[in-house]
Symmetry: C2
Subunit: 153 residues, 2 copies
């Protein structure tokens, strides 16, 4: 189990797994959750500035979480998710793209109100086959400290 | 078509549609996208502080977008989504919950660099049957101005 103290600031990890995106996958996700015509119909998508079928942002987030599960070697002593910040979609995800995930620990700090836990900020970056960022966001997680760290504090 | 000028600051809308959450739905979404044991198995979930099966945050986002589609009476002249801010999950979504959506226009401003468009910020709130907030986030959208507004500027 990884506790707050075990999490290394600035550590970067990359998924060895990739996620190949298909037109059927884009349409199936969007059909259930985000039925915008340009996520469902190539002809409509061709008339948008993007010019081809592209995925729902919610689909990109789901793909990033799925890929993150391929990178969990040891479970983290997480108490709760505190939410996401600065979610952006700088480039569209299109059929034929092959996505992979990079994570970086960009901040960690002990809770001021509850010294038995800390807040870890992870930058989640979804990249395509050209190493271009298609989705990026920060996850804030409440993580338990080791008991011996707390008693020394 | 709703242009930037047609969007009313502070306007609040509520979905008349609701989304009833089932255990099967929670497990199906999590099984594909976020296979944490506590999203998949009632017995594991019972041992968490939440004490029962609860949904993936990505699932909540997907539900909110699905409900937003029931509220689109007129299309918005949106050019692009600029991302999401301050995504938070204050309460878990559990089997049996019945969710609905509230949206509020909390900010709108003309783009400084491109005066033919503006940025609209919408607060998206997913509520349960007790009127409690289960998920909340802000969406920033780039929206075209009416041509006559731009030429007068």
């Amino acid at each position: 189990m990884l506790y707050f103290e075990d999490i290394q600031l600035h550590e970067v990890m990359q998924s060895s797994a990739t996620y190949p995106v298909t037109a059927d996958d884009i349409k199936r996700f969007a059909g259930e959750w985000d039925p915008m015509p340009f996520h469902l119909d190539e002809a409509v998508a061709a008339m948008t500035p993007i010019g081809q079928l592209f995925s729902s942002g919610a689909h990109n987030i789901a793909i990033s979480i799925k890929l993150s599960h391929t990178m969990m070697e040891r479970p983290v002593a997480a108490i709760a998710g505190l939410g996401w910040q600065d979610v952006r979609f700088p480039l569209p995800v299109c059929a034929g793209d092959v996505l992979r995930l990079r994570t970086e620990i960009i901040d960690k700090r002990v809770s001021q109100s509850k010294p038995d836990r800390g807040i870890v900020t992870t930058l989640i970056t979804l990249l395509n086959q050209d190493d271009a960022i298609v989705t990026e966001y920060k996850i804030l997680t409440l993580v338990l400290r080791r008991l011996d760290s707390v008693s020394q504090a």
